[in-house]
Amino acid sequence: MASSEEDGTVEEKENNNKKRTKSTLATAWLTFYNIAMTAGWLVLAMAMTRFYIQKGTHKGLYRSIARTLKFFQTFALVEVGHCAIGIVRTSVIVTGVQVCSRIFMVWFITNSIRQIQSEESVILFLVVWTMTEIIRYSYYTFKLLNHLPYFIKWARYNLFIVLYPVGVVGELLTIYAALPFVRRSGMYSMRLPNKYNVSFDYYYCLIIVMLSYIPLFPQLYFHMLRQRRRMLHGEVIVEKDD
């Protein structure tokens, strides 16, 4: 009798230990991930700065950092997984939309349409992304290490006010610049007639993507403004629920 009771408590302790080790494992992984991403975007920032200082022009800058950019931006897909399994408390959909829009820009616009790689708008959004991501990932890193310097918090919740619209302008200008090349080459498109009775025009798809910024951008921007008020000033704002 006594031994079975003991077994019961030993099992309980093991389960508690499992729960604690799981969250320690999660914290360890997240810390590693955020440090790695901060480092990656810092490398990108330095490579971009070095190129510009050495060459004095932005032509060819994209090509020089393309591989690193693709690697680190694509790796961010992992964040959607973090939300899905619950080790990060953010909505899967919000994170998913943000990461997907980045992946879309990198892989379906700048990577596949070579002619626009030397546009100024590309440098514009690259600079914005780099600054935003370095601040964001270092914010998470410090938070996980329980040692958050106020200026990182300040930077995260204030710089976006300027950086976010500027980034959007850069992205939109890039897509707009890509349009004539897409139309001429007919890339990623399918016409009738075909066996599956479907058609897809990448040109019009891009136009729809550009138009979708109109409803989506204000929503995300005001969401971040609300978060800012909450994090910096401790105000509780009641959001309209459906």
């Binding site: 009738l192 007639p193 075909n194 599956y196 009775n197 058609s199």
Partner: protein, 276 residues
């Protein structure tokens, strides 16, 4: 006679009594205050749901769009396709058949909404209706565009493919209707005799041996057969979306059944027999 003191508070700014957690769903329309499990003081929370529409009107609005828009494409109203095809008709019999099936499907849904279904909740918020209408109307227009297009390609396996798909379609429509009738009869008993649906003499209801929501199963089946009949990728995509949504609904219903009835048959799953 005894009196109840009712305290009315706003749902958002309510104060919680110390050490007490508020739980529970909202009350049904037919609940009687005296029968609620509260003492002599009941606190009721009110919430403004915003503009609403009755369920019958909701479904009518959602289904009338697909019904009519498909016909506009079938008859090739001017400006929908390039002008030389205006008001022409397709040389393929499958296109006419698809129009008949699609029209039948939505007509059946409208008739069921008016004469068969009995709804539990009273209304639906206006924003949701706009969203749903956009979904139904938008997708049916998109499907209709391709099926009735002058450059439409008929199915690869020809008559064989179309006929088999048609048989499956008809069976699924009849099955779906049978299930709706069965569920309707169940509701007639009222809250006293709450039972879960069981198969009866109608062979279409035998799907109840395997799934909790055969109406959804048949609906998916009808759309799958329509995809095969038209061999149109947009239709298949629409079917997939509908399948995902209906699976979510079916799983919810299935879980609710299991929670409510202790003797719920263990062989049943939510929507796909033996699988999902």
């Amino acid at each position: 006679i005894f009196f109840l003191q009712v305290e009315v508070l706003d749902a958002k700014t309510r104060e919680q009594p110390p050490g007490y957690v508020l739980k529970g769903k909202s009350l049904r329309d037919d609940e009687i205050l005296q029968n609620l499990p509260v003492g002599t003081t009941a606190t009721m929370y009110f919430k403004d749901l915003g503009p609403q529409l009755g369920w019958t009107m909701v479904f009518l609005a959602e289904y009338i769009g697909p019904l009519l828009s498909y016909l506009l494409f079938y008859f090739r109203i001017p400006y929908f396709y390039s002008n030389r095809y205006a008001l022409s008709s397709s040389p393929h019999p499958v296109v006419t058949l698809a129009c008949v099936c699609h029209t039948f499907h939505y007509t059946k849904r409208l008739i069921e909404t008016i004469f068969v279904h009995r709804f539990s909740h009273g209304t639906m918020p206006l924003r949701t209706i706009v969203k749903n209408c956009a979904y139904y109307w938008g997708f049916s227009a998109w499907l209709a565009y391709y099926i009735n297009h002058p450059l439409y390609t008929p199915p690869s396996y020809g008559e064989l493919q179309v006929n088999y798909a048609l048989i499956l379609f008809v069976m699924c429509e009849m099955g779906n209707f049978s299930i709706h009738l069965t569920l309707n009869k169940l509701r007639g008993d009222g809250p006293k005799g709450r039972r879960f649906p069981m198969p009866n003499k109608n062979p279409f209801t035998w799907l109840f041996f395997f799934v909790s929501c055969p109406n959804y199963t048949y609906e998916v089946g009808a759309w799958v057969s329509f995809s095969i009949m038209t061999q149109c990728l947009p239709v298949a995509f629409y079917t997939l979306l509908g399948f995902i949504q209906m699976t979510i609904w079916a799983k919810g219903k299935h879980r609710a059944y299991i929670r409510e009835f202790k003797d719920y048959p263990s062989l049943r799953v939510a929507i796909i027999p033996l699988i999902l």
